[in-house]
């Protein structure tokens, strides 16, 4: 049919859709009229009235049949069919409430968790920034190739200040290009002391983003004209309301950040928290960089990656044009650095944008999605099983319909419509549950993250993308679990189905039984993988709780001093630390005080590539600068040679290596007196060997590590470790007082060393809890699946059981037979699952704290658990089913 013609017929089709009752009545009248005329005709030709009537009815082929065919001819095809199928499907679902409830629940759980995790991903990485006309804003990353030397402050894909100015001056595609340094720490002093997180931004930051401060102003170009010139700050609405208690006269007053005074010129709009996932509390003009962090002059360094770039694209400009225009500028910059080529990555601006962040996120997200997808698969297999079982019950009805002329395709369509209806109900329920619960789950997870990440600016509320995903997933799920049962049911041997008792012929069919077994096996295998992952993670956690880290954690307090940021220079810093350590060691309850560049397990570390003179191989070794008391405060014994002497500083060439380092570098030799060369060329000699300890990363007992003596640069940024006796709060208070007696404006935070271990354990605990929940869910679904299939097949074979028992078999034999047959697919599933677990354990090995990825206990315990559960799930229906009187069974239909 030509398209125009089809359009013309739409009104007719719509009319038949909506006025069906009237059309039916008219049809009836029309046919009766025809009959009367036909009868008249026959009577006129001389036939008797009754004979005429019979002949007329015969000619028309049966009024009802004719009506049906007319209706078929009028059908608007698929829409009307769909509505009809939906009606029928709803009726069927209502008639079997138990089945419907089980299926809907399984689907709701599977779809719900997947939609929930997608909404989290959406909020984090897919949603555009919450600023006006965010679709125009892009983020720019650069990736350097070839030979080059580059320093990096925050991320390797960022830009230097001169590069930023270059792009800003010479581009033709942006209406504005801004730069900012994220994650800038500052201490707010004067009154209540507070650690704040903010950003250093170019002066067009608020203009380009379109988020002008509601009170006061943003930055002017004059604020960025001279480095260190104009000390102005814009603070966030949350900070104003919180710390400053909504002080209406705050504008124009000055606040002190990192010992410098800044005038508050504006308060950001409520709800604007910056362009990073962790909210910013303040924004300072980029010209003030050196004031905020005196220890490095980043503005002047042309070869430092430290600024993130965001640009607002002019209207009507395409991405290709942006790419091309910026590539020209990048090429020009490369000419100054021969051997280097820059490629740019330009993307729509979201919260997790930078190359480095994506590299970390992608594998984690893939694993999570894969896991949740597996649970959905288990749910689908479950529902498919239920559908197969129910289809066997309806076999007679289906066979009848096929035999009176329904096409197979029509029948399949109707069964699929039922499945889609199920999945739509389940999917809607699941999505609602997800939206309601995932916001609270996200909040729960955030509350367990380190203190610095107190809130996240990501929004996990559903938007059109999440809804589209939910709908798509629901439809795919419906087709996934509905297709095979539909195909199976409509492929029928009509003769035997109609002749025999439909109930009996069900499991007799080889392919039908095989399908059921396959689904059960699949569920068990997937469940196995999930449970094994959980088992490994739990074992790893237990291992981490009980492992001996190699040093004394209890009874040690630690404190971080960042004097450089507070404006101290080397001399002043050294004097301060000396006096502080003296004062602290005199405190009651303090046994010993030590100082180190990095505290154990503090996530702070330094590393360098070392060589042994005479060898070519370069080895990366982590190191620490420690005072002589470090080893005794932490209880790390020196097993050969000596530790450091008081007064021994970085100027002297002695180093202490760990046992593993000695073994690695000089196997079977005495390490004392041996030489090491660092990358700058300076040589050191080994004066002592310390016991291995997990000071760098938990779970790493045998990595290389070495200790340098303390040096004066360390006094500006160091950890102070205190071994104390008595209670922690009292000691902490005394330490705080000691610090403040020397410098009242210095922020001091005293923590227990054990808490650092907590921070290491916490993410694993969250992951273990989540995967435990998932594993339990999968186990529940799988056991329901096994139970359902076994009880169904037992009930179908009641007749056969009756025959066997009448012929003399006893109950126990029959039970064993049934159990064996029921457990066969389970065993296959377990074996497949164990085989598939090899891959999983590799992925998890990073989270296992040194536990072997093929831990035998986990690999034994979990399959056993699964087998036991499956056995119980099978035994119950088998027991129930065989406790039957043979006479009753034989008559069972």
């Amino acid at each position: 049919m030509r398209p125009v013609h089809w359009l013309y017929t739409i009104p007719l089709r719509l009319r038949s859709l909506f006025r069906r009752a009237q059309a039916d009545q008219e049809l009836d009248e029309e046919l009766r009229d025809h009959l009367e005329r036909a009868i008249e005709e026959y009577v006129a030709r001389g036939m008797a009235p009754r004979e005429a009537r019979r002949k007329a009815l015969l000619a028309i082929g049966g009024i009802e049949n004719c009506k049906e065919e007319c209706r078929d001819a009028r059908r608007v095809n698929w829409i009307q069919d769909l509505i009809q199928d939906a009606h029928y499907g709803l009726r069927m679902l209502q008639q079997n409430p138990g089945f419907t409830a089980a299926a809907v629940l399984a689907i709701a759980l599977g779809v719900g968790i997947n939609v929930g995790i997608f909404s989290v991903l959406n909020g984090a990485a897919l949603r555009l920034l919450p600023i006006p006309r965010a679709e125009q804003v892009v983020s720019i990353d650069q990736i350097l190739h070839g030979r080059f030397k580059r320093n990096s402050h925050n991320g390797a894909s960022m830009f230097s200040y001169s590069e930023y100015l270059n792009y800003r001056e010479h581009n033709h595609v942006f209406s504005g290009l801004l730069a900012y340094e994220p994650f800038v720490n500052a201490t707010l002093s004067g009154g209540k002391m507070q650690e704040l997180l903010g950003a250093l931004t170019s002066c067009n930051y608020f203009d380009v983003l379109g988020e002008h401060p509601t009170q006061g102003r943003g930055f002017l170009e004059s604020d960025c004209a001279t480095p260190g010139g104009n000390a102005v700050v814009v603070i966030s609405d949350d900070l104003w309301r919180g710390t400053f208690a909504s002080d209406p006269s705050l504008l124009g007053k000055s606040i002190t950040l990192n010992r410098t005074a800044y005038t508050v010129v504006g308060i950001a709009p409520p709800g604007f928290k910056g362009t990073e996932p962790i909210p910013s509390s303040f924004w300072v003009a980029i010209a003030m960089q050196k004031a905020l962090d005196p220890w490095s002059d980043r503005l002047a360094d042309d070869n430092l990656s430290w600024l993130a770039l965001l640009g607002r694209v002019q209207r009507g400009v395409t991405m290709q044009e942006v790419q091309a225009d910026l590539a020209v500028i990048a090429g020009r910059i490369d000419q100054v650095h021969p051997g280097r080529t820059t490629s740019l990555s330009i993307r729509a601006a979201t919260f997790f944008n930078r190359q480095t962040e994506r590299e970390i996120l992608t594998p984690v997200v893939s694993v999570i999605f894969a896991t949740f997808g597996l649970v959905l698969l288990v749910a689908c297999a479950n529902v498919a099983n239920l559908l197969l079982a129910r289809a066997s019950v309806r076999q007679k009805e289906i066979a009848l319909r096929l035999s009176i002329g329904a096409s197979r395709w029509r029948l399949m369509r109707q069964l699929l419509a039922e499945s889609l209806l199920l999945s739509l109900i389940g999917g809607t329920l699941g999505s609602l549950l997800a939206f309601w619960s995932f916001t609270s789950i996200t909040r729960l997870i955030i509350s367990h993250l380190p203190r610095e990440v107190s809130t996240l600016a990501v929004n996990v509320a559903p938007d059109f993308r999440v809804l589209a995903y939910a709908l798509g997933l629901t439809l795919i799920t419906g087709i996934a679990f509905g297709l095979i049962p539909a195909l199976q049911s409509s492929r029928q041997d009509l003769n035997s189905a109609l002749k025999e008792d439909g109930a009996r012929s069900g499991p007799g069919k080889r392919s039908g039984r095989l399908l059921l077994s396959v689904f059960v096996g699949t569920q068990v295998a997937v469940c196995m993988i999930l449970l094994l992952a959980t088992g490994l993670l739990l074992r790893g956690l237990y291992y981490a709780q009980t492992v001996d880290p190699g040093f004394e954690m209890k009874g040690v307090a630690t404190m971080f001093l960042n004097l450089g940021q507070q404006g101290y220079d080397e001399n002043r810093g050294t004097a301060f630390v000396g006096r502080l350590r003296q004062r602290m060691s005199e405190l009651p309850g303090v046994i010993e005080v030590a100082q180190a560049e990095c505290a154990p397990l503090s996530h702070d570390f330094s590393a360098d590539a070392f060589t042994v003179p005479g060898r070519v191989e370069k080895i990366g070794i982590e190191y620490n600068h420690v005072s002589p008391q470090y080893f005794s405060v932490l209880g790390i014994p020196i097993v050969r040679g000596r530790g450091f002497l008081p007064g021994e500083t970085h100027a002297s060439p002695g180093v202490v290596v760990t046992e593993s380092t000695a073994r690695r570098l000089w196997p079977d030799e005495d390490p004392l007196g041996k030489t090491l060369r660092e990358s700058s060329g300076r040589e050191y000699s080994v004066i002592g060997v310390a016991r291995d300890a997990q000071v760098a990363h938990l779970g790493d007992l045998h990595t290389t590590y070495l200790y340098f003596p303390e040096g004066t640069p360390d006094n500006l940024r160091a950890y102070v470790l205190v071994r104390y006796a008595g209670d922690f709060p009292g000691t902490a208070k005394a330490i705080r007082n000691a610090v403040q007696s020397l410098d009242p404006d210095l922020p001091v935070d005293v923590a227990k060393l054990e808490d650092y271990l907590e921070v290491w354990r916490r993410p694993s605990r969250i992951v273990a809890a989540l995967s435990g929940a998932l594993g339990a869910l999968a186990l529940l679904l799988a056991s329901i699946g096994v139970y359902g299939v076994v009880s169904y097949s037992v009930s179908r074979r009641v007749h056969e059981i009756g025959v066997r028992m009448a012929l003399g078999a006893d109950g126990g034999e029959i039970r064993n037979l049934l159990l064996r047959q029921a457990m066969r697919p389970v065993l296959v599933g377990v074996l497949v699952g164990v085989a598939g677990c090899g891959a999983v354990s590799q992925v998890l090995s990073s989270m296992l704290f040194g536990l072997s990825a093929h831990d035998p206990i986990a690999f034994l315990a979990v399959p056993l658990l699964l087998l036991v559960v499956a056995l119980v799930a099978s035994v119950i229906p088998v027991r129930y089913g065989t406790r039957v009187d043979p006479m009753v069974a034989l008559r069972y239909e």
């Binding site: 013609h5 017929t9 009248e29 009229d33 025809h34 005709e41 049949n65 065919e69 001819a73 009028r74």
Partner: protein, 121 residues
Amino acid sequence: MLLSVTEDIGMSKPSDLVQGTLDMLLVKILALEPMNGFAVSQRLKQVSGDVLEVSDGSLYPALHKLEQEGWITAEWKTSEYGRRAKYYSLTRLGRRQLEKEADNWDRLSSAISRVIKLKEA
């Protein structure tokens, strides 16, 4: 079968004609004048000299389909005996279709005739 061709000698195996041909014939009949279903089948029988006969069971589904496709339209009229009957008539679209189908049929039938009339060697 939808349409049977009765041979002069009475009852013999009827041959099937395609649905499209039936549609074309019905539409042509209605092109002569609007009439109801019974009259259409009577007229067809009459003008074809009793050769073409539509079974009643296929007549009405065909008519309804033609109406659905928009080739014919129907209205309810009160007939001479005071009873309501449904009268079908041709639409403009149907007229265009009819011309097209008639052309096709011409070409097809002349081609078949040419082949059948070939002289055997």
